[in-house]
Structures are given as structure tokens and as C-alpha cells.
């Protein structure tokens, strides 16, 4: 036994030493990976001939493979739109499914070019992780779901209600903060597991169930009769979801950002997948500039001047994308409506 014990002790020593040596080595490498000249991203994409897009491993409405294994969803449309802008062909995308844990490494290491994976834009991710968030394409936030039969119109009417919530997340805190500032009295029913908390709400143990609105919507659509449940329009926390790229290639970040703005502007000006062909003759100067009839906006982005037409032909405008993927889940436009319809989605001018 002695030699074994001795050996084991020695092995442990070597292992610790190895780890101790490897860690400081690993950190600069990790840091380097962030600052590494990602200026190549655009060129790498072009020379490869495909855009590599990191998506979720499956989230209803945002990204999920259909029965034939084709990726579909709101985030997937952004991958397709960026590919259409760069190559004029929305099918030149490779989708890499990433988990919540592996997504950031995948982007840092260059395994993916673009992460369109319902990721919340936060300061630390933008700075210390070395990413650039292009633009918020979906304003998510915590909301409430109630039985339609209650006839509620706003969360403020929940005074005195019992509310189902999962513990340990910011969800619970947000609920308490919101209730205090709005003087809503409520009784929380705190349940750990997702199925159980949903079950408790369905069984009528609570009047309302609270979590992120996109989560509420997918829970609602999974119910036998979705119409029996209503998601209230109030949003009590900020979860801005945004596609992101590696820091270092500002041009590529610009492309992703302006593809999003293009989708918004197209909706604003009434340009759809169907009418984008005729719209080229539209007399409005901004539409002419946007669609490449006038000016060199495409070239300024390092793209073909027909980029906007290609994108809109492939995916349609923001409203159409929303309608296609998120509306069927019962997600309302809410904060994601255009600025002139009372929402937050606002595009700078195409000039």
C-alpha cells in the first residue's frame, strides 16, 4: 500500500503543480483570444463562403429544427438575413447549436462568427467578455400570465392575488420590487421546478404565474387550450436580447447592426417580402437610398448595393419575421412594436 499511497501523493502534487502552471498560462491565452485580430471576421466569412451562426439547441419560436431538420425561428432569420446581406444568398449559413454554457466560448474561439441566441445584453458581457452586441432585436422582460376568465387587463389589478414564481432567480426579486413600488399586495407561491410551478398555476393554486414573457408564451402555447390563458401586457424587468459578435471587427458588427435596422425601417416604410421588387420604384428618397437605387449605402458597409433587397426578399421585414415565428406562440408586439406604434424598436435613418 505504501508505494501506492506515495505515488498517489506524488501524482496529486504533480497535478496541482500542473494546474498551477497551466492556469496563468491559460488566462493570457483567453484574454488574447478576445483581443486577437478579429478584423478577419468579414474576410474569413467571405473566403469560407458561409456564415457560421451560433443558435440555441432549441427554443420554441427563436431557434429550433423542424421535422425535416431545418433550423427555423426568430434568431435563425437574423442569421439568414446577415448571410443574405453578405452573399446575396440566405442559405449560406451553417448553424452551430450552442448551450447556455458553451455559447460564449464558441464566439470567443471563433467557432462561430455570430451568436444569435437570445442573449441578454449586459455591461460585463459587452466589455470583459470581449463582445459587441449589435442591436436589441427582442425586448424581453418579466411578465404575468393569468386565466383569461379573470378578465384582467393589467398587472396592477393583481392586488391581493396569489402569484406562482420560481425561487433563487432574479424573477422572484423583480416581482417583490415591482409589487413594492406599485403597492400591489400579493402572496407568493414559491416552487422550484418548472413543471411543478406551471402545474400549480394550471391547477388554480395561484391566480398568476410570472417569468420572462417569451417563457410564458411557450408555456401558454403548450397548454391544451392556450386561449384560456392571457399574458398581461405589463413588463416588469429588462431583458434586451441581442445578436452579438466578437470585438475587433467593427465592420462586421456594423453589418449585423444595420441588417437589424434595415428590417425595422422596411417595416416602417411598408416594404415587405412580397412587394420589395416594386418598392424600388417608390418615390420616397429614404426608400430609394435603402434599396440601393440611390447612393452607395451598401458599399459603405462593404456590401453589394443590392444587400437590402436581398435581405428583404429572404426574410421579409421585422414585423413579418415576428408574425411568422413569435406571434403563433402568443407573444404580443408590446415593447417590440415600432417606435411610432408605441414600442421601442427604432431605426436610425438610412442616409
Amino acid at each position: 500500500m505504501q508505494p501506492f499511497g506515495l505515488l498517489f501523493a506524488r501524482a496529486l502534487g504533480v497535478a496541482t503543480l500542473g494546474l498551477a502552471l497551466a492556469l496563468p498560462l491559460a488566462l493570457p491565452v483567453a484574454a488574447q483570444a478576445q483581443q486577437a485580430p478579429a478584423s478577419g471576421t468579414s474576410e474569413a466569412i467571405r473566403s469560407r463562403g458561409t456564415l457560421i451562426c451560433g443558435v440555441t439547441t432549441g427554443l420554441a419560436g427563436f431557434a429550433q429544427p423542424d421535422s425535416q431538420g431545418v433550423w427555423r425561428g426568430f434568431d435563425v432569420e437574423y442569421c439568414r438575413a446577415v448571410a443574405a446581406a453578405i452573399f446575396g444568398d440566405a442559405s449560406k449559413v451553417r448553424y452551430v447549436p450552442t448551450t447556455a454554457q458553451s455559447r460564449f466560448t464558441a464566439l470567443q474561439s471563433g467557432e462561430v462568427d455570430l451568436l444569435a441566441r437570445n442573449t441578454t445584453w449586459t455591461l460585463s458581457r459587452d466589455t470583459s467578455l470581449g463582445f459587441d452586441f449589435a442591436a436589441t432585436n427582442f425586448y424581453d422582460g418579466q411578465g404575468f400570465m393569468v386565466k383569461t376568465s379573470l378578465g384582467l387587463k393589467s398587472a396592477k389589478e393583481l392586488d391581493g392575488a396569489t402569484i406562482c414564481v420560481q425561487p433563487g432567480t432574479t424573477t422572484e426579486q423583480n416581482l417583490t420590487d415591482w409589487a413594492r413600488s406599485n403597492r400591489v399586495r400579493f402572496t407568493p407561491v414559491v416552487i422550484e421546478r418548472l413543471e411543478e410551478v406551471v402545474g400549480a398555476y394550471i391547477a388554480g393554486r395561484c391566480d398568476a404565474y410570472t417569468t420572462d414573457i417569451s417563457g410564458l408564451a411557450s408555456t401558454r402555447s403548450a397548454q391544451p387550450r392556450p386561449a384560456e390563458h392571457t399574458i398581461l401586457p405589463d413588463v416588469i424587468s429588462k431583458e434586451p436580447l441581442a445578436p452579438l459578435v466578437r470585438q475587433g471587427d467593427a465592420r462586421f458588427a456594423d453589418v449585423v447592426r444595420w441588417v437589424h435596422f434595415l428590417l425595422l425601417s422596411a417595416e416602417e416604410f411598408g416594404i415587405t417580402q412580397a412587394n420589395v421588387g416594386q418598392m424600388a420604384n417608390d418615390p420616397r428618397p429614404e426608400v430609394q437610398r435603402m434599396l440601393g437605387r440611390n447612393g452607395e449605402l451598401g458599399q459603405m458597409l462593404g456590401l453589394d448595393n443590392a444587400w437590402a433587397v436581398n435581405v428583404l426578399k429572404a426574410t421579409g421585414n421585422y414585423g413579418e419575421i415576428f408574425q411568422r415565428h413569435l406571434a403563433p406562440l402568443g407573444i404580443q408586439r408590446g415593447q417590440n412594436a415600432l417606435w411610432n406604434a408605441g414600442g421601442l424598436q427604432y431605426s436610425p435613418p438610412f442616409r
Binding site: F4, A11, A15, A26, A38, D66, G69, Y95, S221, A222
Partner: protein
């Protein structure tokens, strides 16, 4: 002789006409009486268990066959939802079976992974038959695995190229398990021998490898392979995610199998080693002809145990975003129209896993019986 005298003696007496045993002792009735109703307690247990089994079987038949819905048009799952759990919605399998089996592989090319699965099964069957246990078998393995690679990747012979991130479903599970064990097993033998080596450096290295790998869960190795490892590589250089997961599985399986093999080496009598040395055999001759054949034979049950365990452990790759069979099954029911039919999908995926694991287990039993015939008492 004594038999003979007995019969002749009995033949003399008139009432000695050979009678069959009482009806209550033989046949079905006798067996039931002896095994199921031998006492009050055993009768009670039998009846209770019988009741439960019949109830469960009847319940399953009612759910899975009588009330089940086998097909719905165009994702209209309302008919299934109206059952409210009283019947299975096999329509989800009808709709999604190709996704569950082959993941995001291009739909029109599904015959390629299907063929690969058949090739894998054929490879297992051929390798299982003793008649094929010769040197040529190694060549068959290399050839078939190369063929599988060509089929999955394509890019030659007019087959369109399919990148690895689109592979999925059953082929991924079989690839991870087959390659994992095929590479881990030789590694394990070397490590097991190394751990018993008299050379301190080799011994320390092997001990270090086994203890370090066994000291961490597989999931953390997979995490390291998928999250930490890429950061060490220069930008633009990427080792494929599947390959990284495969290497992690090989290293992990290797450490566990090495300990199993070492168990066999230790169980072997010291006389065998000494006899081999007395014959003047070199180390490798001794190991290859005398030690390993006996040692491996001894450890067939734990080896198969580990094999079966690893076949199922491959499903852990779901945490790094690879669509193996189980993950593909989970992903299939994310689509809103099909949410809530998890039981049907899990039963199906479970059945597929069961077929493979049960076949392995049965085969190992027969192999064990055959190889250890001389030890049977």
C-alpha cells in the same frame, strides 16, 4: 446396474405398473404449485404481483394501443390534446421519427446515416461471431469505419458535403460509443499493464492518468473539451466539437476500462507469470499469449458493464450542443405543436437504447459461458 435391478424387481409385483407422478406435481400445475403457491405467503405475494402486473399491462395497452392516435394531418395535434393523457399520441413519432433518428442531417440525404447505422450493426454482428475472429477483422473494421466516414461527410463520389455540426441522432450515438470504446480499449490495456510495470516513470504516468480522469465527472471533461480547450488554440484554428467530445470520451472510458483490465491481471495466479517466464518468453509474448487472454476472459462481466454504461453516457454530449439520439428526441418536442408529448418520445428513445444494451448484455452472457467453459463446475 442398480437401476436395472430395481426395474426388474418392480416388474414382478402386480401393482408396479409404472404410474406417472400425480397431476398436482408435474406439468404447469406442478410448476405453479412449487414456485408460486407453495405457501400462504407465497400465494398472497403471487396474487398481489399478478394483480399489479395485469393492471399495469392493461393500462399500458389501453394507453399505448387502444386509445392511441397514430397519425394526425399537418401538425394538427388538437386530436391528441383532446385525449388528455388517456392515450398515447404516436403521431409525434410518425411526424418526428426522422428527426429523432438523424437530427439536422439534410433531409434528402437521410439514406446515408441510415446506411451508416446498418453498417454499424453489421459490424457488431460480424465482430460478435467467433468464426470471423482473425486478423482480417481489423481490416474489415478499418474499411467499414472509413466507408462510414465517407458516407457521413460526403464531398466525394457525387455525395454533397455535410459538415459535422449537422450530424445527429442515432449515428452520433453509435459513432461516439463505437469509436470511444474501440480506441479506449487498447488504451486501457496499455495503461493497465503500465500500472503494473516495474518502471517507475511509466507506472507514475499511468497512475496519474487514471486517478486524474477518474477524479472528475465525464460532464466536466466534456465541458473542458468544449469550453476551455478552444481558448488555448490560436484564433481561426478550430478542432471540431464532435472530435473534442470524442477524445474526451475516449480518455474517460480508457481510465475506467484500465481499472477493469487491471482487476483481471491481478486475479491471475502468480504461477502463470512465472511459468511464462520459465518458458523464456519475452515480455510482450508473455503478455500477449499467456496473461491477457486469461485476464480479459475473467473480466468480461465488468467490461460489458462498463461498455453498456458508456453507450448510455454518450447522451451527456447534449450539454455541449451535440444532437445525439436523446437530445434529438428532446429537441423534437420543442416545436409548439408537439409540446407535451414527451412520454411517447422518451419511450421510443428508451426502446432504441434498450435494444442495443440488451443485445450487448445477452451476447456477453453467451460469450462468458463459451469462453469459461473449462471453469464450469
Amino acid at each position: 446396474m442398480s437401476d436395472l435391478t430395481l426395474t426388474t424387481a418392480a416388474a414382478h409385483s402386480p401393482e408396479a405398473v409404472s404410474r406417472s407422478a400425480p397431476l398436482s406435481q408435474v406439468g404447469l400445475a406442478g410448476w405453479l404449485r412449487a414456485n408460486l403457491f407453495s405457501s400462504w405467503l407465497s400465494s398472497a405475494v403471487t396474487l398481489v404481483l399478478l394483480y399489479l402486473v395485469i393492471r399495469w399491462v392493461a393500462g399500458f395497452v389501453e394507453w399505448g394501443i387502444v386509445n392511441a392516435i397514430w397519425w394526425v394531418p399537418e401538425n394538427q395535434t388538437q386530436a391528441c390534446r383532446d385525449l388528455k393523457g388517456t392515450g398515447a399520441c404516436w403521431a409525434v413519432i410518425a411526424e418526428k421519427h426522422r428527426f429523432i433518428l438523424f437530427g439536422t442531417y439534410p433531409y434528402d440525404e437521410h439514406w446515408r446515416p441510415a446506411l451508416c447505422v446498418l453498417l454499424f450493426v453489421g459490424l457488431y454482428v460480424v465482430s460478435a461471431m467467433r468464426r470471423f475472429w482473425r486478423k482480417e477483422l481489423a481490416l474489415i473494421w478499418v474499411a467499414v469505419l472509413a466507408l462510414i466516414g465517407v458516407l457521413m461527410w460526403g464531398g466525394v463520389l457525387g455525395l454533397p458535403y455535410v459538415p459535422q455540426e449537422r450530424w445527429g441522432g442515432l449515428p452520433i450515438t453509435l459513432i461516439l460509443a463505437t469509436f470511444g470504446l474501440a480506441f479506449a480499449f487498447p488504451l486501457a490495456i496499455l495503461v493497465a499493464l503500465g500500472r503494473r510495470s516495474r518502471l517507475p516513470a511509466i507506472k507514475a504516468l499511468c497512475v496519474l492518468y487514471v486517478e486524474l480522469i477518474r477524479g472528475v465527472p465525464l460532464i466536466s471533461l466534456l465541458f473542458m473539451a468544449s469550453v476551455m480547450f478552444p481558448l488555448f488554440l490560436p484564433e481561426g484554428m478550430n478542432i471540431d466539437k464532435l472530435l473534442r467530445a470524442q477524445i474526451a470520451i475516449i480518455l474517460f472510458a480508457g481510465a475506467y476500462l484500465a481499472e477493469v483490465v487491471r482487476g483481471g491481471l491481478q486475479a491471475l495466479d502468480k504461477g502463470q507469470y512465472e511459468a511464462a517466464e520459465a518458458l523464456g518468453l519475452s515480455y510482450w509474448q508473455k503478455t500477449g499469449f499467456i496473461i491477457l487472454p486469461q485476464a480479459l476472459r475473467l473480466v468480461i462481466p465488468p467490461l460489458v458493464n462498463t461498455f453498456i454504461g458508456f453507450f448510455k453516457d454518450t447522451s451527456l454530449v447534449l450539454i455541449i450542443g451535440i444532437f445525439d439520439l436523446l437530445t434529438a428526441g428532446k429537441t423534437a418536442i420543442i416545436e409548439p405543436a408537439w409540446q407535451g408529448f414527451g412520454v411517447e418520445v422518451y419511450v421510443t428513445v428508451g426502446a432504441i437504447y434498450f435494444v442495443f444494451c440488451f443485445a450487448m448484455s445477452k451476447y456477453s452472457q453467451s460469450l462468458e459461458a463459451e469462453l469459461n467453459r473449462h471453469r464450469r463446475r
